[in-house]
Structures are given as C-alpha cells and as structure tokens.
Amino acid sequence: MAEIVIKNVAKRFGAFTALHSIDLTVADQEFMVLLGASGCGKTTLLRIIAGLDRPSEGEVWIGGRRVDHLPPRDRGIAMVFQNYAVFPHLTVYENIAFGLRMKKLPQGDIDKRVRRTAELMHIEQLLERYSGQLSGGQRQRVAVARALAMEPDVILMDEPLSNLDALLRLEMRAELKGVLAQSRTTTVYVTHDQVEAMSLADRISVMHAGRIVQSSSPVEVYRNPATHFVGSFIGNPPMNFIRAEKAGRGRWRVAGLVLEGPESGRERLDFAIRPEDLREGEGGLPATVRVVEPLGAHTLVTCEVEGSLFRAVLDSSTSAAPGDRLDLLPVSDRVRWFDPETSAAVKAA
C-alpha cells in the first residue's frame, strides 16, 4: 500500500514562488499525471516527492509515513529522468543491478530480478552493452527497467518520453502503460503533452502557475474543464471561447443568438464550446469561413465569429469554402460557461 499524500506543500526560490500550497492525494496503484506548460511547477512537485528538492512548507507522506525530512533513498521511490541518466561507465546489466546492489540483495536474487525486468522491457539482448552503444529508445528502456527492478512503492517519471521521436514515443507510451499497470505500482508522471496525459492517466492534475487547477479523470478534464485555462490547454484544436452578454435570467446573448445558460450575477460570461461539438445548421452562430483543412475523417474549419477565432471540426462532407457564411450550431449539452473575472467554470442551473 503506497498512497502519496501531499499536504499544503509550497516551494519558493528566493522571491519566486514555484508552488503555492499544494494539496494532492495519489491513491495506491493510481497512475497520476501532472500536466502543465513548462514552468508551471510540475517537475518541482515531482522532485519534492522524490526528495531531490525540499519543500519550503508542508508535508509529504508516502505509504502512511511522513517522508519530507528523508533523503530520496529512504522513501521507497524510484525515478525515471527526462534524459534517462543511465550510468555511462556501467553495462546495462550493472545499471539495472545498481539499486539492488545498494540494497545488498544476494547475487542470485539480483540476477533473477535484472533478467526479469530486462525481459519485461525487451532489452535482454543488450545487457552487456554500455550506454554509449544504445539508441535513445533503448536508454529509455534501461532507465525504466532500472526503476522497476527496485520494486518501489512509487515510481516517479519526469517527462520520460519527451526526448524520443514521435513514432517511438507512441510505441513506448503504450508499452509503459502496459508494464506499469502490470506492476501495480503507484505512479506519478510529469508531462506537458496533453495527448500523453490523456492516454496514460487514471487521473490528471492540471497545473498552472504553481497551483493544481483541476484533478480529475481524463474525460472529466476534457469535458468539464474547471477553469478557462484547462479548457484552452487541453484539446487539439483547443476549445473556442466567446464573450456572452446577459439577456435576462439564465439567458445569454452570444453573437446575436440568445442561449439558455447558468444563472449568474455577472453581466458577462465566457461561452465555450469544443470544435467537435459544433454542427452546421440553421439558427446557429453566424460565422465567416477563413481556412478549410480537410483531414480525411473530418474537416477542420477555421472561421470568425464576431471578431473571435472559432474552430469547428465538421464532417468531411461539408461544402464550406473560404469566404462562405456558415451557421454553427453548438451541441447544447456540451456548452460550457466561465466567469471572465475568476476564470472558473460556472455550472448551468
């Protein structure tokens, strides 16, 4: 059982605050992804869990034990680094065995574990090689095998796939998911790649400017973004936003169209809709088509609605051409509303 509990953790570097009082619980065996743009504090949070950085405030608990005063080696963690950190002076075998030798396991056990994890990561034919003789993908495999061989309570991964080329990244992503699910280890995984996050995570914690702004399942994060930022950060093409004016109780005027919406004291709200939740149809938002990009299964249409950029993913049978006037009908239960001042989501009544 290794649940990670982060209580009120803050990190300051001089006058700069990297993390503002983070509270987060990662359940036993959960795959948690910390997602955010670079500089949002996700790597700092991971390094605090690992013990490579110390929090300025707050507590870190792993498996019911307070660990924030312990060095990394006493926390029951293993870590995979962005640049792999495979020891160049040791063979692949000795790299994987490194942590086991530090634990002073008997040679027989070490050998068994090294061979088993090497087999798991498909590198059993590379055991005698040095890191200089390996490709990036192979080094990545060694780094993961080295972490798995420790049989840790928690595996921490810092953008482990970001140095791989696109094709290899897809392949490793699927493989990592399988291997980690099999090992039933609690995992915290840092990435800036939302597709990676969606495909791997049990739960995504979206970070922005040193805070966790949303922590929920991938579908929930996608469908019900907690803030304007989450909505615009996740999804490709991103969510469309346009200003809405109050037009009565629970009614809002969007680009000349009056829509049902939440009841709010505000005079204005941000209306938001995902590109794939727009249809061509009578009585929709009046749009002027600017660019049409057929993508095979769908056609991506970029248009202008009341001066705002709008993207719609339409069926590839669409006849829209640049310069056309188009009516874009939002799928009503997919419309989201955000408070322009707090940028938080406003629930429909």
């Binding site: 013990g51 060095p71 990394p72 293993a78 962005q82 640049n83 490194f98 530090m102 634990k103």
Partner: protein
C-alpha cells in the same frame, strides 16, 4: 542549374592561385610552429648524446653520435641524485595537495550555488596574476620564522599555490561535464551523497583527475624560482642545476636541460587530451 554551374566555373577560374598561396601560408605557419617547439628539443637531445668535443666543435653533423659520456658524467655529478629525489618528493606532494584541495573546490563550484561564487572563481585565477618573486621573498621570511624553510613540505606548499588554480579549473570543468541527474539517479537508487560520488562521479572523472594531477606534478617539476629562494641544502633538480650548471661545461648543461625537459614532456604528452578540459572544451 546548368547556367549556374557554368558561371561558377568561369568565376572560379582565378581561385586555384589564391588557394595555392593559401595552402602555402598554411603549411609555412604549421612548419614554423612545429619547428618552434621541436628544434630546441632536438638540439638538446643531439648535444646530450654527443661527446664533449662534438658539442663545442664545428662544423656540426646534426646527428647524435650516441656518446653517453655527458649523461654518465651528469648522473654521477655530486648532488644530482639527491636533487632528483627532492624534485620527485616535492612534485608528488604538490600533486597530492592540489588534488585534495582543488578537486573538492571544483566540485563545489560546479554543483552548488553560493554567494560569491563568481568572485571566488575570479580570485582563483587572480592568484596567477601575482609574480612569484613578489610572493617568494615574504614567504621565505615567513617560512624561516615557522621553520618551514629548506624543507620539501614548505616548497610543496608554494608549488601548490601555483598548481591549485589549474587543479580547481580543470576539475570544475570535469565535474560540470557530468550531468547532475546521474548523481540524483544514484541517490534515488539507494546512495547517499558520498556513495553516489564514489560509485558514479569518481569513475567518470578519474582519468581527468589523473591528468590534472600530472599537470600539477609538472608545474612543480619545472618551477625554479621559489625552489631556488626557499631551499638551500634540500634543493630540487631545477634549483640545483640553476646553481651549478652556469659554472659547468656546455655539454653538461645540455644533459641537465634534457633531464629536466624529458619527464615533463612525457607526462604532458600522456595527458594532452585532458588538458583541453581546462579550457572547458572537452565536455564529455
């Protein structure tokens, strides 16, 4: 395409001339640089290996006669053996001190942020800006007071101040070439700081450390001023030769010169690859 190629050819016509003179300049400069280094060494070798008559005679053949007379006489010269032993002891002590003091400083400079770090780096280099004579005389006085004068240990301390800046800068650049993630990975795999250093960093920097040690050795080996001022009876080879060779015959001076140059030359040649690390070029 064809047009472009044609015009290239016509425009390129005068090029061979320019290229030829460029090549000539290049080879002339290269030859000059090589000669600058090799001719004195060659003369040293030839004259050391020639008989005394050949050394002072004329015309020169330029080919050594492999007469070992000068070398044998030099090695049998009273005091040479003792001075040689002194030189080795002082150089070894200098080597040890510079690495034991310099490597931790280099590690700290590359791994930790502390106030005054850049000032410290600057100061390290500044120690080389003071002319040694300026330091040697006050030092001699101080050494006499504390009883360090005319000892190998005292001289090694002075030589260490000369070699230390290089040791710090070379090791700084060596440690900087090793990603901190390697150490961090070792920490997560069960090492404390010292174990991580011993098992991961040390094996990676050892060749470079050796090179920097050898460099410190040669700095001490070649140093003559402080050695001449600070020692009287326990002279190093350089100081001893300085004292006795200007009253010796020519062929003996050549033998002494070669005895000084040869070890330094061999050592520096052996570690030449790592010397570039000093300038921060060789990052592995």
């Amino acid at each position: 395409m064809t047009e472009a190629t044609l015009s290239d050819v016509t425009v390129g016509k005068p090029a061979p001339d320019a290229r030829q003179s460029g090549r000539f300049l290049f080879w002339a400069a290269t030859t000059f640089c090589i000669a600058w280094v090799l001719v004195p060494i060659y003369l040293l070798v030839v004259n050391t290996l020639s008989s005394p008559q050949e050394v002072s005679g004329f015309p020169k053949t330029g080919i050594p006669s492999f007469d070992m007379g000068s070398v044998q006489f030099f090695l049998g010269f009273t005091g040479v053996g003792y001075a040689l032993v002194n030189s080795v002891i002082v150089a070894v002590l200098t080597m040890l001190f510079s690495i034991l003091l310099g490597a931790p400083a280099g590690y700290a400079l590359s791994r930790f942020d502390f106030p005054g770090k850049s000032a410290f780096r600057f100061m390290v280099m500044m120690t080389r800006a003071f002319p040694l004579p300026l330091l040697a005389l006050p030092l001699a006085v101080m050494f006499i007071r504390v009883g360090l004068d005319d000892t190998q240990f005292g001289l090694a301390l002075v030589h260490t101040t000369l070699a230390l800046p290089f040791a710090v800068l070379i090791t700084f650049s060596l440690f900087s070439g090793i990603p901190i993630e390697l150490e961090e990975a070792a920490w997560t795999l069960g090492c404390n700081r010292i174990q991580a250093f011993r098992k991961v960093v040390l094996p990676l920097v050892l060749p470079g450390i050796t090179a920097s040690a050898v460099f410190a050795f040669t700095i001490s080996w070649n140093e003559v001023f402080a050695a001449a001022v600070l020692t009287v009876d326990n002279r190093t080879l350089t100081a001893f030769l300085l004292q006795s060779l200007n009253v010796s015959p020519l062929h003996l001076r050549f033998a002494g010169g070669l005895a000084l140059v040869l070890p330094a030359l061999v050592f520096i040649f052996a570690v030449r690859k790592y010397m570039f690390a000093m300038w921060g070029i060789a990052n592995r």
